[in-house]
């Protein structure tokens, strides 16, 4: 049980006042919205490294020609890792909406930082190649670096907290920021997540046979696994009263956060679904909302047999026919960024009153009693949306967002 001594009514309300995103779906909120509405499949052949010997050969990737375009003519910026460019893009978009936003803290989730620079260093070392750039690779490898780079690019100097809770990292970051603002101890916090695709992580999921050589089909009876993705997303959270006082646009309200740890296995969820169920229950309790109030669930939905079974069971037990989709089907699983990207997807669903689709869905799984938003987006009245993220190590997190009443 998510223990709270404090009366729920005494807690501060938490507004989302800005957001920024870059993912395989596009650069920025507008392109992301277009891709979601068009049910665009943004997964393609992996181009960043050889996957000839892997089972899986596809991923959702962000094209370098656009991502790195801003660095022309500036030597220091050209050295930055791709993950830094993603963070700069996402943070820049969010701050453009709220130029006066002065965060007291920045909480960011990631799983692998600048991993591909670590790979380059190791390959150069083992293959007796040129190591003159090794100090630059090493200096840009740590997980905090893309966050600090983005702050520097955007003129911020906020303390950073980098959460690495595997695939729940982004949701945990937003949830932690939510709790801090809700407590009344913080007024403005930036939260989100990032991850850039890397060979090591790609091969890792391939070695576990968690990734699929086929299409990613979350919740489909014939699902065969996940595909990886990459990206970054940022939400600017603010005490609602403060946001209203200064006349800031309120895009949505975060009303609940649930976190749980299931201790079943380091890579597999408890098949009973207890971990996801506890996270969702705690998010609902935190929000003082019944399950019936939820109009849409953006599922973790990796399309692995075990994840979808456990999550699907938990959703079916808690909710009665609420529309569910996994947008990972369109862009892949961006690991530490996923929770943040999917929170932005929920934000767009709330703002534009539609249900984002779960593409590649052909055959319902008879074991899962779910109302899947199959293959195309649908207009719908969405007042509250739940975003699930679950990770290795039994890290489970659910974020509950609500359309903000004026």
């Amino acid at each position: 049980m998510h223990h709270r001594v404090k009366q729920e009514s005494a807690a501060a309300r938490v507004a989302v006042v800005a957001a920024g995103i870059v993912s395989p779906l596009g650069f920025g909120l507008a392109e992301t919205l277009d891709s979601l509405r068009a049910a665009r499949d943004c997964v393609g052949p992996v181009t960043r490294f050889s996957v000839a010997q892997c089972r899986c050969k596809t991923a959702g990737q962000i094209p370098d020609e656009r991502l790195l375009a801003g660095g022309d003519g500036e030597r220091r910026r050209r050295r930055l890792h791709r993950a830094s460019h993603m963070m700069i893009q996402a943070l820049g978009e969010a701050l453009a909406q709220q130029p006066q936003f002065q965060p007291e803290l920045m909480v960011i989730g990631t799983t692998s930082g600048g991993m591909s620079y670590g790979e380059r260093y190791y390959r150069a070392l083992t293959q007796a190649a040129d190591l003159r750039r090794a100090p630059m690779w090493i200096a840009n490898y740590p997980s905090q670096k893309p966050v600090l780079d983005a702050q520097e690019a955007c003129g911020l100097r906020a303390p950073c907290r980098i959460i690495a809770n595997a695939c729940a990292s982004g949701a945990n970051a937003i949830g932690q920021a939510f709790e801090c603002v809700r407590s009344g101890r913080y007024r403005q916090i930036l939260a989100g997540g990032y991850d850039a695709i890397s060979e090591m992580v790609f091969v890792g999921f391939d070695s576990l046979q968690a990734s699929t050589p086929e299409k990613c089909r979350p919740f489909d009876r014939n699902r065969t696994g996940m595909v990886l993705g990459e990206g970054a997303a940022i939400l600017a959270l603010e005490n609602l009263d403060s946001a209203r006082r200064r006349g800031a646009a309120v895009l949505a309200e975060i009303v609940g956060y649930g976190v749980s740890t299931d201790n079943f296995h380091i890579t597999q969820p408890d098949p009973s679904g207890i971990g996801p169920r506890q996270a969702m229950e705690r998010a609902l309790r935190c929000a003082c909302l019944p399950a019936e109030a939820v109009d849409y669930i953006n599922a973790h939905g990796t399309a692995t047999v075990f994840n979808d079974a456990a999550e699907g069971k938990a959703i079916a037990e808690l909710f009665d026919g609420v529309p569910v989709s996994s947008t990972k089907s369109m862009m892949g699983h961006s690991l530490g960024a996923a929770g943040a990207i999917e929170a932005v997807v929920c934000l767009l669903a709330l703002q534009h009153q539609f249900l984002p689709p779960n593409i590649n869905f052909d055959t319902p799984d008879p074991v899962l009693n779910l109302n899947i938003v199959a293959n195309s987006a649908r207009p719908a009245a969405v007042s509250a949306a739940l975003s699930n993220s679950f990770g290795f190590g039994g890290a489970n997190a659910s974020i509950l967002m609500r359309k903000c009443e004026t």
Partner: protein
């Protein structure tokens, strides 16, 4: 309301146990330098390793294949819980938070896993190793060992990450998410890590590691873990945790540290646990300390224990808490006599010491600090 340290656990190159390690520090002992040979070149690095005997009979199914980083963490955490007399049960398993601090993570398995890929191709990648490469593997193992079902977080960063983890734990307790929080910093050493720091020109080629030297000679890497249980009761209060900051260029580290010290400095700060480790950060800390707290006694444990990066912040907190509890500071080893600070170069009694600052400057831009007080 401030939080307090209810229990501590410590795994270091001087062995296991807060009192045992503390006693050795008071006696002026230091870790035994171990030579770590680079596997792909002629270089050798010196590091302080945790003695094999330190982990004793630590046994749990989740630790069977776990890397040293997880074992160190588990041992320190269990000792901290034991010292606090806290048992995790179904009654409190969701009210105890876990916050881990790591910097380089499970580097041994990460190097082995990726090494197999580079050498033999993706089909050689081990599905058993991959999960242990994930940053939150040590936290996951400990949560499973203890049966913790609530908030479990792993933070990553440079040497300042340990104090950032204490700040996050403070937030979790003050936000009423949990009632108590176990904060664990942990790190392991591998030759690859030594090579990386050497190429970054941060490693000391041979002992000793000289703090606040005229020219930074570099640090000696070490490994181990530190754990503190934070709650509402305990003899040492964590009076204030600074939210942290960062510097964009090394030359600006001193001004960032100075600001943190000014934010934390009370009327009377009896001593400062510095993070001086023989690198550029010593100059920055020295400059900031001279400006803000010229009269305070300064201690750094890194010449004796090495730089354990992700574990380092927790080690500093334990040092600060022990010094307040015992009213004594160990000698700072290998320091020149003309360092312009009140260095505790000999074992020294701290008469009526009430408050201390723990200051940490990481080598990769992050800076943090907190203030401890004897209750």
């Amino acid at each position: 309301m401030s939080l307090a340290i209810a229990g501590m656990g410590w795994i270091t190159p001087l062995g296991r146990g807060v009192d045992s390690v503390w006693q050795q520090l008071l006696e002026g002992r230091e870790g035994s330098p171990a030579t770590i040979s680079e596997k792909l070149g002629p270089h050798e690095c010196i590091a302080f390793r945790v003695p094999e005997t330190a982990l004793g009979n630590l046994a749990h199914p989740r630790l069977r294949r776990a890397s040293a980083i997880s074992r160190f963490a588990a041992a320190a955490a269990l000792d901290a819980l034991n010292a606090a007399g806290l048992n995790v049960s179904s009654q409190n398993s969701n009210r105890i938070g876990l916050v881990f601090a790591v910097s380089n993570g499970g580097v041994i398995y990460t190097r082995r896993f990726y090494g197999d890929i580079v050498r033999s191709g993706p089909q050689a990648a081990s599905p058993l190793l991959f999960p242990e490469t994930v940053y939150n593997a040590p936290a996951s193992h400990l949560a499973a060992m203890l049966g913790v079902t609530g908030a479990t977080y792993t933070l990553v960063g440079d040497g300042a990450v340990g104090l950032a983890a204490v700040k996050m734990a403070e937030d979790l307790v003050m936000n009423e998410t949990v009632e108590q929080c176990l904060v664990v910093g942990t790190e392991e050493i591998d030759w690859l890590l030594c090579d990386a720091y050497r190429r970054w020109r941060l490693l000391c080629p041979r002992p000793p590691m000289e703090p606040f030297g005229r020219r930074p000679r570099g640090m000696i890497l070490s490994e181990g873990a530190g754990a503190i249980l934070l709650g509402k009761d305990g003899p040492i209060a964590v009076e204030r945790v600074h939210p942290g900051a960062h510097y964009d260029r090394r030359a600006r580290a001193a001004e960032t540290l100075e600001q943190i010290l000014r934010d934390l400095a009370d009327d009377r700060i009896d001593f400062v646990i510095s993070s001086a480790n023989g690198t550029f950060i010593d100059d920055a800390e020295c400059a900031a300390l001279r400006r803000v707290l010229p009269e305070s006694a300064i201690y750094t444990g890194k010449p004796a224990l090495g730089e354990s990066v992700g574990a380092g912040g927790l080690w500093q907190v334990i040092l600060g808490a022990q010094a307040l509890r015992r009213s004594e500071l160990p000698p700072v080893l290998h320091a020149r006599s003309d360092v312009p600070l009140r260095l505790s170069c000999a074992r020294s009694v701290l008469a009526d010491a009430r408050r201390a600052i723990v200051l940490n400057c990481g080598v990769n831009q992050q800076v943090a600090g907190l203030r401890l007080a004897r209750r």
